[in-house]
């Protein structure tokens, strides 16, 4: 076999180039996806069968918000346009769905209440009435509620998509911060207008709609089914030519236009599709809540989505779902944070957090500057400790650690950064980190030992702690890992099997004189030394 020093003359390599990743192993991937889907369905069935309403609700909410975050990421991550008005689209979709699907007794209550701004006409806007009017009266029973709900969802999505069209128009003229503000403004305008005299007949003003059927929003099957549909559409879009065009707009708008991409079309397309799914998510959201109220569509919602997207990773759909799971966990299971505890326990909690933060910062700094990686055992130890401490902390007392246990589990955090062969000690770290550690220890001790009680025995309610936790998380992520936990890496079967298309195969390495030169090719491959030109 002749050794060719020119890759483009080796027929096998040329062949590989031509087929490329797009269509390799499609059959295998499809089977794996189906298999994984089956496993996932079994898992869902198992978890819902456990009988915990809280878990089922959390799972359903994860799916609902997953639809919202993945659709938001189409604009924020793929198109690169920071959009802050997603809650507005959800509002439109949610209210449309609620209005169309509200059961008749709830409608009657609205009319009877006398305080409502709705008229006979607007209250009568339901799919049941529509069906009756066009002769499909047989489909108005309870057994076909699911069909009507589906149609209502779709209608909600369409209305939201229309709004997306409107919001997309400024995106053609504005960029960056200004566009973000305009989208925020739209979100607020939608919410503020919804209670005014003009729209109150349709939205019932500040009262909203009570009695939205919640079987669908709380059902994991419905929500995950719709999530699967959303994922299908959006991931197929993202990894198609249109997705590439959108990403090119994100990378460099001017170059993108210069290469033939119609900016207006793709931006508006992104907004419309994103808004559609946001509307659908809104419809599921009102179903989950059981009612449609303006207070459920505050900017806070978009903030949660932003945290989910940024923490997870704007570059990948898997990352966004991870981030959503994190946010849902904090929201649904973070109640213990917002209870009332003795001040001494709060101090213990704060002390723990400060010590963990200080240790993490120390480790991060010393490793960041030395360029080495944390030894694996320390990462596992760190993570395991973190989990145990969280669960056994005074605020999340799932495991009763007791004071001694608490202090024992904190020791690695205090000791690890100072061990001899961990990190690069020669580089200094700011005094503030040691201060953090010190304050943490002192606070912990004060809380733990409660010297001279007095005001330490008072109680304090942690109202708003969840928001604080998420906000701090977002700030930390933005400063230290803006790409998110996962970054741009997308989960794929190819990744699982370590099919690295951007590395040369062994055969290519042998065939190429440049690549097979050990002096030039370190672990990173030829890409790592791409600073000179070959002949």
């Amino acid at each position: 076999m002749a050794v060719s020093s020119r890759l483009d003359q080796n027929p096998q390599i040329v062949e590989r180039t031509k087929t490329l990743a797009f269509q390799q192993n499609r059959g295998r991937n499809l089977l794996l996806t189906l298999g994984a889907g089956l496993v996932f369905i079994l898992l869902l069935w198992f978890f819902t069968g456990l009988g915990s309403a809280k878990l089922t609700q959390a799972l359903a909410l994860f799916a609902i918000w997953g639809v919202a975050t993945v659709s938001l990421n189409l604009i924020n991550g793929t198109l690169g346009i920071l959009s802050l008005g997603h809650h507005g689209f959800m509002l439109i979709g949610g209210y449309t769905t609620a209005l169309l699907i509200l059961p008749d007794d709830a409608r009657q209550r609205i009319l009877d209440s006398g305080r409502s701004a709705m008229t006979e006409t607007t209250v009568g806007l339901s799919i049941s009435n529509l069906f009756n009017a066009i002769g499909l009266g047989g489909l108005t029973g309870d057994d076909t509620l699911w069909l009507r709900f589906l149609l209502a969802l779709f209608a909600g999505g369409l209305m939201a998509a229309l709004a997306g069209l409107i919001v997309g128009i400024p995106s053609l003229r504005l960029r960056g911060d200004y566009l973000a503000i305009v989208t925020f403004g739209f979100g607020e305008i939608i919410r503020l207008s919804a209670s005014t005299r003009i729209f109150a007949p349709l939205t019932n003003g500040a009262l909203g709609f009570a009695g939205v059927p919640s079987d669908f929003g709380k059902s994991v099957w419905w929500t995950f089914g719709i999530l699967a549909f959303t994922l299908f559409i959006i991931s197929k879009l993202k990894y198609s030519s249109y997705g590439r065009a959108m990403e090119s707009i994100r990378e460099d708008e001017i170059a993108s236009e210069a290469m033939g991409v119609n900016l207006a079309y793709h931006k508006v397309l992104g907004f419309v599709i994103s808004a559609f799914f946001a509307g659908v998510a809104g419809g599921l959201w009102v179903s989950w809540l059981g009612n449609a109220r303006l207070d459920n569509f505050l900017f806070t919602l978009t903030f949660f989505f932003l945290v989910a997207i940024s923490a997870g990773g704007t570059g990948s759909i898997t990352g966004v779902l991870l981030g959503t799971a994190l946010v849902i966990f904090v929201r649904q299971y973070g109640d213990p944070l917002e209870e009332t505890y003795a001040i001494s326990r709060w101090l213990e909690f704060i002390g723990i957090i400060l010590i963990i933060a200080g240790a993490a910062f120390l480790l991060y700094r010393s490793f960041n500057r030395s360029g080495k990686r944390l030894p694996d055992w320390s990462v596992w130890l760190f993570t395991a400790n973190l989990v145990i401490l969280l669960l056994g902390s005074p605020v999340f007392p799932a495991i009763n650690l007791g004071k001694i246990g608490l202090y024992i589990f904190l020791i690695p955090f205090l000791v690890l950064p100072f061990l001899p062969n961990v990190g690069d000690k020669s580089k200094g770290v700011g005094w503030i980190v040691y201060a953090l550690l010190g304050i943490g220890v002192i606070t912990l001790l004060i809380g733990g030992i409660s010297p001279g009680a007095g005001w330490l025995t008072g109680t304090f309610r942690g109202f708003g702690m969840r928001g604080i936790a998420l906000a701090i998380l977002l700030i930390v992520i933005m400063i230290f890992r803006p790409a998110g936990i996962v970054g741009r890496h997308e989960f794929s079967w190819g990744w699982l099997f370590r099919e690295r298309l951007d590395q040369p195969t062994d055969e290519e390495r042998k065939q190429d004189a440049w690549l097979s030169n050990p002096e030039l090719n370190r672990a990173g491959g030829a890409a790592a030394v791409d600073t000179e030109e070959d002949a």
């Binding site: 020119r6 890759l7 483009d8 003359q9 390599i13 040329v14 590989r16 180039t17 031509k18 490329l20 990743a21 797009f22 269509q23 559409i233 197929k236 879009l237 198609s240 030519s241 249109y242 590439r244 065009a245 990403e247 090119s248 990378e251 460099d252 001017i254 170059a255 993108s256 236009e257 210069a258 290469m259 033939g260 991409v261 119609n262 900016l263 397309l269 570059g315 741009r488 298309l501 951007d502 590395q503 040369p504 195969t505 290519e508 190429d512 890409a527 791409d530 600073t531 000179e532 030109e533 070959d534």
Partner: protein, 276 residues
């Protein structure tokens, strides 16, 4: 009828007159170079042709049809593509993706077909990839195989320039505007790019308009040379004619002291575009 006809275009930005009454014709299959001192308006000319700016007066015709006032992406559809002086690649996309984006405008499938991966879409996608590989092959083995899937930011400067040229070629344009294609390249690379540009015309069938500063490159491949200074065309002709033209020499080097009656102040003022 010339392929590209630039007819008396002018462009001002506020008080600054960037282009004054410039006319230029480019025949199919030519390689024409535009040279001139810095700030002469060469990139502005490119921007005007590609639709980034609209000329204040005058017209630009491509294959007989007026293109002045069209948007850049429409002009790509019509058949003109460009590279950028300071490189504008899509940094986080792979090489292959960069060269695929420029083909997107030719795609016949709508977004729904793309999402559903219809056979029509699939076939087009396959064709686009093969076309992309073909264009990248102009530059030898460097941008092939596993390299295709590496993000562009790992590339060296010269490789980035090559990728950008391949990206422009992949648009399927007939006329390519190359803005300083050899900037930042050493002599060996410059020689190579010179050959490649010639091959692009000879084998690829492209017509090429290029802005360059390196006179050896210009001299070697240009059929014609156009000289701009202060937004005006001051000379046009073969390389030899232009290089010996006294107006061109003056633009680059200034007049010889004994021939000039201007004072230093007047010269400086003239450089600012004012007269004293």
């Amino acid at each position: 009828m010339a392929m590209l006809e630039v007819q008396n275009i002018s462009k001002s930005f506020g008080g600054l007159r960037a282009m004054s009454d410039v006319s230029l014709n480019i025949e199919k299959g030519e390689i024409v170079s535009v040279i001139g001192p810095n700030g002469a308006g060469k990139t502005t000319l490119f921007n005007l042709i590609t639709g980034v700016y609209t000329p204040d007066t005058g017209d630009i015709k491509f294959e007989g049809k007026s293109i002045a006032g069209k948007k850049p992406n429409q002009i790509v559809d019509i058949g003109i593509a460009r590279t950028f002086q300071n490189l504008r690649l899509f940094m986080n996309l792979t090489i292959l993706e960069n060269v695929l984006v420029s083909q997107h405008h030719k795609l016949n499938s709508n977004w729904l077909s793309a999402v559903l991966r219809t056979p029509g879409y699939r076939a087009q996608e396959k064709a686009m990839r093969e076309y992309a590989v073909e264009k990248l092959a102009f530059f030898g083995p460097r941008l092939q195989s596993f390299r295709l899937h590496q993000p562009v930011y790992v590339l060296s400067y010269a490789n980035r320039r090559r990728t950008e040229m391949a990206r422009a070629m992949a648009t399927g344009a007939k006329l390519l505007l190359l803005d300083e294609p050899s900037a930042g390249m050493n002599p060996k690379e410059t020689r190579e790019i010179t050959q490649i540009i010639r091959r692009m015309r000879d084998q690829g069938g492209y017509t090429i308009l290029l802005v360059e500063h390196k006179m050896n490159l210009v001299g070697e491949i240009s059929d014609r040379v156009v000289v701009l200074d202060y937004g005006q065309k001051i000379a046009e002709g073969s390389y030899q004619d232009v290089v010996n033209d006294p107006k061109v020499i003056e633009a680059y080097l200034g007049k010889k002291a004994e021939d000039s009656e201007e004072t230093e102040v007047q010269k400086a003022a003239k450089m600012d575009g004012r007269t004293i």
